[in-house]
Subunit: 123 residues, 2 copies
DNA sequence: CCGCGATATGTAATAAAACACATATCGCTA
DNA sequence: TAGCGATATGTGTTTTATTACATATCGCGG
């Protein structure tokens, strides 16, 4: 297998989408989205963090940060009790996830549409 | 001036767009774009870095990295000579900037279009 | 042929972000 | 009421990214 005649390498377009507060800080991006979805599924922050392979400490901090910047709660927390505690999504969080989903789909479409033109124009 | 009744803060959508190599590493994003534009204008990497308020060392490293990942030169470098040296854009770099511009405009439009829907759906 | 100013590049110092670890609190259940 | 498991949070440690500093090379012009 010989190397390609041209030394040009394949190039891809990537983008990252996030919600930010006026300060410019991030609130919700891919990781937080996945974390919230995972909480929704598992019913606990601890289990959700494990699924994503991240630490409870970080997951907790991310949620706290997002809630503070948004100004409202994303999760309903419960300490103690039969299973030690749990976390569930608030209705606002669910709405947010749906909206994020829809937005991401639109952006995906936009970038797909633009990708061919892009590749053509850098030839 | 009293605080708003609601504790909700304004939220904005932000995105970052970049070219990446297969490895997933970034090549060109906003900073590199601005750096290249600045080189185009100033005719030197040193002057361009100063304009952007960054160090020559970092600017040089960024360009080098991008060129290695792309597999072709973005700048024509000249050491020594009447003015000590200079850097100018290759035609490929110019094409890349144009393509990046066009892409960014399309994405801006897409996100603008989606923004109102987004805000509405998280109410 | 020396000095100027820009490119070229290694390495040390610093700052910022992530992660690891420790500890406290809560409410059910045995 | 002691213990279990999850939430809650401070703090030290490590990793990573950025900046700073130092030095070399190049080619023209005086």
């Amino acid at each position: 297998m010989k190397p390609p005649r041209s030394s040009k390498k394949d190039v891809f377009l990537r983008y990252k989408l996030w919600l930010s507060a006026v300060s410019g800080e991030g609130i919700i991006e891919e990781n937080q989205y996945l974390l919230l979805r995972s909480i929704e599924e598992k019913g606990s922050l601890k289990a959700a963090a494990e699924v994503l392979g991240t630490s409870y400490r970080k997951a907790w901090g991310d949620i706290k940060n997002a809630e503070e910047l948004l100004g409202y709660e994303l999760t309903e927390k419960q300490r103690g009790g039969i299973d030690g505690g749990k976390s569930t999504l608030t209705s606002k969080a669910k709405k947010l996830l749906e909206a994020y989903d829809a937005l991401h789909k639109k952006m995906d479409t936009a970038i797909e549409d633009a990708y061919e033109d892009f590749k053509e124009s850098i030839k």
